[in-house]
C-alpha cells in the first residue's frame, strides 16, 4: 500500500481501473429490459429530443451481455466508447505491471501511456467531440 502512496502513477492506474470496473458493474446490474437506469439524459429532459450519446447505458449493458447488434441499434457509437473503457482497463493493468517490473523505463512508459490514451480518447469520442464543436459554428 505504501508503494501506491509513493507512486502517484500506480495510484491513478489503480483508481481508474476501479472506476472502469464500476462502470461495467453498473452496466451489468441494470438491464435494458427493465429500463431502470438512474442516469438520465439532461438533453432529453430539457429538449425532449435524443442527443448523440443517448442509449449509451443500454448499449453498454447489451455489449456486456454479448448482444452487439442490438447494442448498435441503441447507440451507434456505444461500441467504440466501450472499447475505449475496455482498452483503458487493460492498459492500466499492463502499464502498472511494466512500471513495477522495469523502473528504469518509467518516464518513457508514462509518456507512451499519455500519448496512446489521448489518441484512443480522440478516436473513440470523436463523434461526441464533433457534436460539441459543431454547436459553435
Amino acid at each position: 500500500m505504501d508503494r501506491f502512496r509513493n507512486e502517484p502513477y500506480l495510484l491513478i492506474n489503480f483508481i481508474l481501473a476501479g472506476v472502469i470496473i464500476l462502470v461495467f458493474i453498473y452496466s451489468g446490474i441494470f438491464s435494458p429490459e427493465k429500463n431502470s437506469y438512474p442516469v438520465v439524459c439532461v438533453h432529453e429532459k430539457l429538449t425532449g429530443e435524443e442527443c448523440v450519446s443517448c442509449g449509451l447505458s443500454h448499449s453498454f449493458s447489451l455489449i456486456i451481455r454479448g448482444e452487439i447488434s442490438e447494442a448498435y441499434d441503441w447507440n451507434v457509437y456505444g461500441l467504440r466508447v466501450f472499447i475505449f473503457f475496455a482498452a483503458q482497463l487493460v492498459m492500466r493493468i499492463i502499464f502498472s505491471i511494466f512500471y513495477l517490473k522495469y523502473p528504469e523505463t518509467n518516464n518513457q512508459l508514462i509518456t507512451y501511456d499519455i500519448a496512446v490514451s489521448a489518441m484512443l480518447f480522440l478516436v473513440c469520442f470523436l463523434p461526441f467531440i464533433e457534436t460539441l464543436i459543431s454547436q459553435f459554428h
Binding site: I12, L16, H43, L46, L132
Partner: protein, 180 residues
Amino acid sequence: MEDFTSSTGQPSGKSPVSNTKQPAGQNLGVAALITAIVTFILAVIPCVGLIAMIPGIIAIVLASVGLSQASRSDSPRGLLIAGLIIASVATMISFSQVFVVGRISDKFKNKWGSDIENVINDVQENVLNELEDANVSIKVESNGEKVEINTSVNKKNREQQLEELEEADSVRKDTLVRKK
C-alpha cells in the same frame, strides 16, 4: 522533544513519520488528478456533460488547495498543476454543454412553434368543415307550447336549397315578364 538527527544533519534513527510522510499537497494532487480525468471523460459525453461541472469544480478546489500547501513547503507541484489544467479544461467543456443545450432548445422551440401553428390550423379547418355539415336543433318552450325546429345546415343541402331558390326566382321572373 526527541532528536531524530545526528551531528551531520541526517536522521539518526528510524522515524515512523519520515518513512510515510508525503510531500505537502501530493495526496490532494492525486485526488484532483483522478477527479479531473473522470470529469474530462464525463464532460465530453453530452448526456452527462452538464453534471460533470460538479466534479470539475471539486477537482479545481482540490488542486488549488494542494498547490497552496505545496507552495508553502516547496514541494513538487507537477501533479497538482496537471490536475488543475485538466480539471479547468474539463469544466470548460462541461460548461460549453450549456450552450449546446441552449442551441438544441432554440432549434426545437422553433420546431414546436411551427408544430403548434399547424395543429391550430388543422383544428380550425376541422371545425369549419364540421360546421358546414352541422345539424341544428332549436327548441322553444313558451306558455306550455313547445316548438322544435330541426334543420340541417349540410353543405350539400344548402347548395340544393340555393339552386331551388334560384330556380324559383327565375320562374317568378318569367311569370312577371309574362304578366307585363
